[in-house]
C-alpha cells in the first residue's frame, strides 16, 4: 500500500497551532477545555456522588436488615434514601461516568483527534453537570427534605402530601434533571460530532474500537431519549408549581378534593419510560464496548465477529426505543399493548445474546492473562448473564404480572445495570489508569477489591430474586405482620445487609488505590498491556496537550490486530505502517477508506 509521506501532514484542519497549550493553573486544571481534564473532572464528580449513593444504599439496607433498630431511619427518610440513591446511581453516576468520563477521555484518543470538536462547549458541559449535582444535593437541605417519590417520580403521589419532599424536594429534583439534560446535550453534541468528523486519516468507522461504537450509539440514544425526560419533567414541574393538570386527574388528597382535573398519570409513565428504557442502554452500551476491548486486549485475541458486534450495538440501540412499556405491564394501560411490548422486548434479547456469544468466542483459543481488568471483564460476563436472563422473565408479560413490584425486579435491575456495568467501570479504570496518569494501580489491592466486589454483589442480588418470587414487595419500609413472608426471609435480609455493608466499605479500597497510585503508583510504560488500539500509541504518557505531538497519526488497520499469523509481536498497533509485502488479513470492509489511497 502506498503510504503518504509523513511530511505532507501539515493539514490545515490540525488546529494545534490555533490552540496553544494553556498556561495558568486555572486554565489547565479548572476551566480546562482539554477533553482529558474534563473527563477526569466528570469522573471525580461522578465517583464522589456515587459514594453518596452507596452510603444511601447502606442506610436503606440497615433498615431492611434490622427494621426499626435505627430510629433516625423513619419511613419518610427511608423513601428519601431510596429515591436519591436510585436517581444518583442511574443518572449522576453511571450516565455521567460512561459518557462524560470514559467518553470524553477515550473518544478523541481512540479516533486520533487532538480534542473534541467543540472544546468550549465541552468545558461548559462539565460545569453545567456540576451545577445539576449541586442542585440535587441542595434538595437534602430544603424544608421537607429531598423527594421520596421513588426514582421514577410517578405522579400523582410525587407532588402530593403523603410523599416526602412533595413541596421543595421534588422541585429541586426536577430542576436538577433539566440542568443535567442540558449538560448531557452539550456533551453529546461533542461526542457524536467528533466521531463523525474528526477521525484521523485511515480511521474508518469500521476500524474504530468497540468502546467508541458503544459510547457513540449510547450518545445518540441519550440525545434522542433525554428529551422525553425533559418533557415529562417540565410538565410535572408545572403540575406542581402552577397547578396545571397534565398528569393529575381529579383526585382527593388527604380527604380534600383538589383542583386538578383531567390529567393522565399514564401519560407520565409513557414519557418517562420512553426515556427510561433507552437510559438503561445508555449505561449498558458503553459497558458492552469497553468490555469487548478489555477481553480482546487481555486475551491477546481479536474480538470475534467485529462487524456483528457493531450491528448488535446499533440494533440494540434501535430496538431500545420500542420496548419501553414493558415497565408498564401492570400499569393499567391498554392491555393489548402487552403483546407488542413483550414481543419487542424478547426480540432485543437476540442481539444481546450475540454479543455474549462473541465475547465467549473471543476467549476461545485465546491467550488469557488474568489481569485485574480481565477479572472484572469476566465478572461482567457472569453477572450480566444472570441479569439479562432474568430480564426474560420480566419481559414476558404474563410471567411479569406476579413479579412486577417485587424484589425480583430490584434484583434484576441491580444485577444488569448496577453490578455488571459497575464491574466494567472498575475494569476500565484499572485498564486505562496507566494511560491517564502514567502509573499503574496497585495490583494486590485491585485483586482484593475485585473479589470483595464480585462475590459480594453476587451474594447480595442472587438470593434477592427468590424473595421476589415469594412475592415480597419492593419499596416497603417494613414488612410487619405480613404472614406470607416467613421469618427466614428476614434472616436473608439481614445477611444481605451485612454483605452490602462489607461491599460498600470495600469500595474504599478502590478510592484509596486511585488516590495513592496516582501519587505513588509504579510508573507505567506507554503501553503496559501491549494493546493495539490508537489511544495507547500517543508519543507521551500521559498524553500531552494536543495528544499526538506535531503530527496526527495515520491508521492502517482495525483496532484488534492481535495474534496475527506471521507477525513478529502478538499485536500490531493501529498506526504501525504495514510491512511491505505482508498481506494483513483484515475482515473485509475494514480497509475501505473514503478518499484514501486504494
Amino acid at each position: 500500500m502506498n503510504t503518504p509521506a509523513p511530511t505532507g501532514h501539515a493539514v490545515p484542519h490540525d488546529d494545534d497551532a490555533g490552540h496553544p497549550a494553556p498556561q495558568s493553573f486555572l486554565s489547565r486544571y479548572v476551566w480546562s477545555q482539554d477533553h482529558k481534564v474534563i473527563a477526569v473532572q466528570y469522573a471525580c464528580t461522578a465517583i464522589a456522588v456515587g459514594v453518596v449513593g452507596v452510603v444511601l444504599s447502606n442506610l436503606m439496607r440497615l433498615q431492611l436488615g434490622f427494621p426499626g433498630q435505627f430510629e433516625f431511619i423513619n419511613a419518610e427518610r427511608y423513601y428519601q434514601f431510596v429515591t436519591m440513591h436510585g436517581m444518583i446511581m442511574v443518572i449522576y453516576l453511571l450516565t455521567a461516568l460512561f459518557l462524560g468520563g470514559f467518553g470524553n477521555y477515550l473518544i478523541p484518543l481512540m479516533v486520533g483527534a487532538r480534542d473534541m470538536v467543540f472544546p468550549y462547549l465541552n468545558m461548559l458541559s462539565f460545569w453545567v453537570y456540576l451545577l445539576s449535582v449541586v442542585v440535587l444535593m441542595a434538595s437534602f437541605f430544603v424544608a421537607g427534605g429531598p423527594t421520596g417519590a421513588g426514582w421514577t417520580l410517578y405522579p400523582p403521589q410525587s407532588i402530593l402530601p403523603g410523599t416526602p419532599g412533595h413541596a421543595g424536594g421534588i422541585v429541586l429534583m426536577l430542576v436538577s434533571l433539566v440542568i443535567f439534560i442540558v449538560a448531557t446535550t452539550m456533551g453529546g453534541l461533542n461526542y457524536v460530532t467528533t466521531v463523525l468528523q474528526a477521525r484521523c486519516e485511515g480511521m474508518t468507522l469500521l476500524r474504530m474500537p468497540l468502546t467508541v461504537w458503544g459510547i457513540f450509539v449510547a450518545t445518540i440514544l441519550a440525545l434522542l431519549g433525554f428529551p422525553a425526560l425533559f418533557v415529562s419533567g417540565v410538565m410535572l414541574l408545572l403540575d406542581r408549581t402552577l397547578g396545571t393538570s397534565f398528569f393529575m386527574p381529579a383526585l382527593v388528597s388527604m380527604g380534600q378534593v383538589t383542583g386538578y382535573k383531567g390529567g393522565s398519570p399514564l401519560l407520565f409513565q409513557h414519557l418517562f419510560w420512553f426515556f427510561g428504557h433507552p437510559e438503561v442502554y445508555i449505561v449498558a452500551l458503553p459497558a458492552f464496548g469497553i468490555v469487548s476491548d478489555l477481553i480482546s486486549v487481555h486475551a491477546r485475541k481479536c474480538i470475534f465477529g467485529y462487524r456483528m458486534m457493531v450491528w448488535a450495538i446499533v440494533a440494540i440501540g434501535g430496538l431500545s426505543v420500542v420496548v419501553w412499556a414493558h415497565h408498564m405491564f401492570v400499569s393499567g394501560m391498554n392491555p393489548y399493548f402487552g403483546f407488542f411490548f413483550a414481543t419487542t422486548t424478547l426480540i432485543i434479547a437476540v442481539p444481546t445474546a450475540i454479543k455474549v456469544y462473541n465475547w465467549l468466542l473471543t476467549l476461545w483459543h485465546g491467550d488469557i492473562h488474568l489481569t485485574v481488568p480481565m477479572l472484572f471483564a469476566l465478572a461482567f460476563l457472569c453477572t450480566f448473564l444472570i441479569g439479562g436472563l432474568t430480564g426474560l422473565f420480566l419481559g414476558n408479560v404474563s410471567v411479569d404480572i406476579p413479579l412486577s413490584g417485587t424484589y425480583f425486579v430490584v434484583a434484576h435491575f441491580h444485577m444488569v445495570m448496577g453490578v455488571a456495568p459497575l464491574l466494567v467501570v472498575f475494569g476500565g479504570i484499572y485498564h486505562w489508569f496507566p494511560k491517564v496518569t502514567g502509573r499503574m494501580l496497585d495490583d494486590r489491592l485491585g485483586r482484593l477489591h475485585f473479589w470483595i466486589t464480585f462475590l459480594g454483589t453476587y451474594a447480595i442480588y442472587f438470593p434477592m430474586h427468590y424473595l421476589g418470587v415469594l412475592g415480597m414487595p419492593r419499596r416497603y419500609y417494613n414488612f410487619d405482620g405480613y404472614k406470607f413472608i416467613p421469618p427466614s426471609a428476614f434472616t436473608m435480609n439481614e445477611f444481605i445487609t451485612v454483605v452490602a455493608l462489607i461491599v460498600g466499605v470495600g469500595q474504599l479500597l478502590f478510592i484509596f488505590n486511585l488516590a495513592w497510585s496516582a501519587w505513588r503508583g509504579r510508573p507505567a510504560d506507554a503501553n503496559p498491556w501491549r494493546a493495539a488500539s490508537l489511544e495507547w500509541q500517543t508519543p507521551a504518557t500521559p498524553p500531552g496537550h494536543g495528544n499526538w505531538g506535531p503530527q496526527l497519526p495515520v491508521v492502517y488497520r482495525w483496532a484488534y490486530a492481535y495474534g496475527e499469523p506471521g507477525a513478529a509481536e502478538d499485536f500490531i498497533p493501529q498506526n504501525a505502517p504495514p510491512e511491505p509485502g505482508a498481506g494483513e488479513p483484515e475482515p473485509e470492509g475494514q480497509s475501505e477508506v473514503r478518499g484514501a489511497p486504494a
Partner: protein, 386 residues
C-alpha cells in the same frame, strides 16, 4: 485459575441455593397456574444457559490460560457459526414468548358472568364495592367525595343506590366463581396485589383498570399495595376471604347499601358546637374512615403504624425524647393539627398533616374520647410491632 474455580462454585452454589432455599411462589389459590408454569419454563431455559455458559467460561479460563510461548489463534469471525447461534437463540426466545403470550391472551379475555368486585384504593386503605341487584355499579366522581361518601358515588345515579359498600379492609369472595376486579383510586397510583392469586393491576386515579381471576382455594389471603403511594405504602393492607358460596352469601347479605349509608349519615348539625354528642361521635367515626386514620390506628387495642385509639384518651403517653404527656383534648387537637411536632416513643413519626375544619377536628376528638378512658395501669406500654 481462582476465577475458574470461583465461577464453578458460583454455578454450583446457585443451583444448590435454588434447590434448597425456602422461598418460592406462595401457594397458588387461583386459576392462573399457567403463569407459574410459564415461570417454570423460563427458569428451565434460562437456567440451562446460565449453567452452560458459566461452565464454558471456567473451562476456557483453564484451557486457554496464558502460557509462555503460546499465542492466541486468529479467528476474526465465523459466519456459519454466527448464523447457527442466532437461529438457536431465536428458537429459544420463541419457546419462551409463545407460552407467555398465550397465557396473556387468556388474561385479557375476561369471562362473561364474572362476579364484579370494585376495589377502591386510597392513601392508605382499601375499600370494596359490589354492584347491587341491578348488577351495575353506580357512577362516581371525585367531586362527590366526602366524609360520608368516601366512594364518591353520584347520589343522583339510580344504579348506585343499591351498591353494597365495604368500608373495612376485608372482602369475601365465593369459591370457584370468576371475579372481574374493577379498580379505582381516589388519589394516587396503588396496586391491589394478593400474591396467592398472581393476577393483579395498578389502580389509576381518573380511570378504571381491571383484571380477572377465579379463586380456587378457600382461605384468608393478605392483599398488599404494590405501587409506591407515599409513606403509608407498606401499611396498606387488606384481606380477601375465599369461602364456600353459602358462607359468602350470608356475609354478602349483611352488607350495607349506599342508599342506607346515606340515610344514616347525619347532616352536620347547624349548632353542632352546642352538643349532640352522639352525632358528633358518629361524624368522628366517619371521618376516621374517610380521612384514612384507620389505616394506621386501630380501635381494638392492637398497635399498628400508630398507637391504637382504644384506651388512648386519658392515658399518659411516652415521647421518644423521654418526656411524658397526658392524652387529653388539648393533646389530641395539637397532635392532629401538627403531627410532626412530637414523636411518640415506639412509633415512626410518619403521620401526615390532614386537613380538618375545626368542627371536624372536634368530632374526631370526640370519637377518640369515646373509645374509653385508660385501662388500669397494669397495661403494658404499647410498642409498635417489630
Amino acid at each position: 485459575m481462582t476465577m475458574a474455580v470461583a465461577l464453578l462454585l458460583i454455578v454450583a452454589g446457585s443451583v444448590l441455593f435454588h434447590v434448597f432455599n425456602p422461598w418460592w411462589t406462595t401457594p397458588l389459590a387461583s386459576n392462573w397456574k399457567l403463569m407459574d408454569d410459564t415461570l417454570g419454563i423460563t427458569l428451565a431455559i434460562t437456567g440451562l444457559f446460565f449453567i452452560v455458559i458459566n461452565v464454558f467460561i471456567a473451562y476456557m479460563l483453564v484451557r486457554f490460560r496464558h502460557r509462555a510461548g503460546r499465542r492466541a489463534a486468529h479467528e476474526p469471525e465465523n459466519r456459519k457459526l454466527e448464523r447457527w447461534l442466532i437461529g438457536g437463540t431465536t428458537v429459544a426466545i420463541m419457546a419462551l414468548l409463545a407460552p407467555g403470550l398465550l397465557v396473556y391472551a387468556n388474561y385479557v379475555r375476561e369471562p362473561r358472568d364474572a362476579l364484579v368486585l370494585e376495589v377502591l384504593a386510597q392513601q392508605w386503605q382499601w375499600r370494596f364495592r359490589f354492584p347491587g341487584e341491578d348488577g351495575k355499579l353506580g357512577a362516581t366522581d371525585a367531586r362527590f367525595f366526602s366524609a360520608t361518601n368516601p366512594f364518591g358515588i353520584d347520589p343522583a345515579d339510580r344504579a348506585g343506590q343499591d351498591d353494597l359498600l365495604i368500608a373495612g379492609d376485608e372482602v369475601h369472595l365465593p369459591l370457584g366463581k370468576p371475579v372481574l376486579v374493577l379498580m379505582r383510586s381516589n388519589d394516587v397510583l396503588h396496586d391491589f396485589f394478593v400474591p396467592n392469586f398472581r393476577a393483579r393491576m395498578n389502580t389509576v386515579p381518573g380511570q378504571v383498570s381491571r383484571f380477572w381471576f377465579t379463586p380456587t382455594v378457600a382461605g384468608r389471603y393478605e392483599a398488599l399495595c404494590a405501587q409506591l403511594c407515599g409513606v403509608g405504602h407498606p401499611n396498606m393492607r387488606g384481606y380477601v376471604v375465599v369461602e364456600d358460596p353459602a358462607a359468602y352469601q350470608a356475609w354478602h347479605a349483611a352488607l350495607p347499601s349506599f342508599a342506607k349509608s346515606q340515610a344514616k349519615a347525619p347532616e352536620p348539625p347547624a349548632g353542632a358546637a352546642a352538643g349532640g354528642g352522639g352525632a358528633r361521635v358518629d361524624q368522628g367515626r366517619a371521618l376516621a374512615d374517610s380521612k384514612g386514620c384507620v389505616a394506621c390506628h386501630t380501635i381494638d387495642g392492637s398497635p399498628r403504624v400508630g398507637p391504637t385509639w382504644k384506651g388512648l384518651y386519658g392515658k399518659t403517653e411516652n415521647m421518644a425524647d423521654g418526656s411524658t404527656a397526658l392524652v387529653d383534648e388539648a393533646y389530641l387537637r395539637s397532635f392532629i393539627r401538627d403531627p410532626q411536632a412530637r414523636h411518640v416513643k415506639g412509633f415512626p413519626p410518619v403521620m401526615p398533616k390532614i386537613e380538618l375544619s375545626d368542627e371536624e377536628l372536634a368530632a374526631l376528638v370526640a370519637y377518640i374520647q369515646s373509645l374509653g378512658s385508660p385501662p388500669a395501669q397494669a397495661a403494658a406500654e404499647q410498642k409498635a410491632p417489630r
